[in-house]
């Protein structure tokens, strides 16, 4: 049997993800996490009336990251992730999950070379992409300001 024929067989016969269930799960869980974030934003606005909007939203992010980290630590987030998929990966809690889970996993190899060194095996690309895009966009904005 030729390689290509076999690949075709695999592609036509392999079990596919059920789109409807996974999409509904992702939608519900993702929407729910966003609502929790919205609620924290509203609460902080009432509690801290003197704070500017950008600081409030940073505080909301930090709170959500705390929640994501905590749920990861007590072993709940990975169970949500089995069903929710994208719904629990894309919110900022998913970013927290991707930092905390390797930190917990590699803690066994020691604190310095295990946990601290490997904390970013999954989240590293996000920080790199964020920093690079910060520098690139910042530079473009600077040139635009210069021309003005």
């Amino acid at each position: 049997m030729e390689d290509k024929q076999y690949m075709d067989y695999i592609h036509t016969h392999a079990q596919k993800s059920s789109h409807v269930t996974t999409l509904v799960w992702a939608f519900l869980v993702g929407g729910l996490i966003c609502c929790v974030g919205q609620a924290f934003g509203d609460i902080f606005k009432v509690l801290l009336p003197n704070w500017e909007q950008s600081k409030i939203s940073a505080l909301v992010s930090m709170t959500m990251i705390f929640l994501g980290s905590f749920l990861t630590a007590i072993g709940v987030y990975d169970k949500i992730g089995i069903h929710a998929g994208g719904g629990s990966i894309v919110p900022i809690t998913g970013f927290a999950n991707s930092v905390v889970s390797p930190a917990m996993e590699f803690n066994k190899e020691g604190i310095v070379l295990g946990m601290m060194a490997k904390m970013f095996v999954i989240a590293g690309p996000i920080i790199v992409a964020g920093t690079v895009s910060s520098v690139v966009t910042g530079f473009i904005y600077w040139i635009v300001e210069l021309i003005r």
Binding site: Y6, A14, T22, T72, D78, N97, S101, P102, M104, F106
Partner: protein, 333 residues
């Protein structure tokens, strides 16, 4: 004695004198729950790390397998086996506690087949007692090949669940009411260019089909010569694919089964079934060995399958080659 291209028959009788299986907590709720010799209550087993638990598992299984037939580990000629973890640490570290010579093997999930083939050849020759043992552990394999345990990833429907468990057998010249290894077909590494590391059943099925078809061509036997043809960890989809591939070559395998797709019950829903080096050794040392002892199975073709990938090879865009070894296990009439 060499038969055909890749098949060897053993001239002397090689008995499987003893077998012992240890299943993880999740496997213990599966289809073979009443066949396991012992069960771990949790998968850490009071060890500091999951890797240490796997070392402890192998040590326990080898020890119990030998003490069951009152054999001192020092009387064994060699312990051979392997697992999936870096530099086969669990097997070699468990062997340091026995004063027995040791040979480490690696053929991914097909290691148990490789161990049976080499071990039976040694016993066919001058060796007297050889222990074959493999293990796998869900948590250590997950770290080795995939992601941290707590990362919220979604398993794809093709993916398999690494079996937590270990099985050991003792091959010896001692006669008795035991099943025998009578021959084996050594498989080739075969690559059909699959790159999805989740779909290992599809990657291994061509190697399994090649080995099985070669075995039938070399020996001139037909599939119904065996009571059961049982593969290692192809999973449900891989098993269907293997059936289809063999049918194309002219062999209809009606008695085909797969350890991986049988080990978990339907309610457990672990994707395509179990996988791992411990999957086939666990099922062999529990269910198959007991069925062979009470003669409800008399001849089986046991085909452990392996997918030879590493995390880095998959990232570098390499495809996944597969391997399978077929071992003939028979009862004297």
């Amino acid at each position: 004695m060499k038969i055909g291209k890749q098949t060897y028959f053993l001239d002397n009788k090689v008995y499987i004198q003893s077998a012992y299986s240890l299943a993880g907590p999740y496997e213990a709720k599966g289809n073979f729950r009443e066949y396991f010799d012992s069960v771990m209550e949790d998968d850490e087993w009071k060890c500091k790390s999951h890797e240490m638990a796997e070392i402890q598992m192998q040590r326990y299984v080898i020890g119990e397998c030998l003490s069951r037939v009152n054999v001192n580990p020092m009387d064994c000629d060699v312990i051979m086996g392997g697992d999936l973890i870096n530099q086969i640490v669990p097997t070699s570290f468990s062997a340091r506690d026995f004063r027995t010579p040791f040979m480490g093997l690696y053929n991914a999930c097909a290691t148990f087949g490789e161990a049976l083939a080499i071990g039976s050849t040694l016993v066919n020759g001058d060796f007297d007692k050889v222990v074959c043992c493999t293990s796998s552990h869900y948590a250590t394999a997950e770290r080795q090949y995939r992601y941290p345990l707590e990362l919220g990833t979604q398993p794809t429907p093709e993916s398999q669940w690494t079996v937590t468990g270990s099985g050991a057998v003792l091959l010896s010249k001692k006669q008795g009411n035991y099943p025998m290894v009578t021959g084996y077909t050594v498989g080739r590494v075969l690559d059909f260019g699959l790159t999805d590391p989740n779909n290992m059943g599809g990657a291994m099925a061509p190697a399994a089909s090649n080995t099985i078809v070669t075995h039938f061509r070399d020996t001139g036997r037909s599939p119904d010569y065996y009571d059961m043809i049982i593969t290692g960890d192809l999973g449900r989809f891989g098993r269907e694919t293997l059936h289809y591939l063999c049918k194309k070559e002219g062999y209809v395998l009606d008695n085909l089964n797969d350890c991986g797709s049988l080990v978990y019950s339907d309610e457990q829903k672990p994707g395509q079934g179990g996988s791992g080096a411990g999957c086939c050794s666990l099922v062999f040392a529990s269910y198959l060995y007991k069925k062979l002892i009470d003669k409800s199975l008399k001849r089986i073709l046991f085909v452990p399958t392996g997918a030879m990938l590493s995390k880095d090879s998959a990232l570098q865009g390499e495809s996944i080659p597969g391997i399978a070894h077929a071992v003939v296990i028979e009862r004297e009439d």
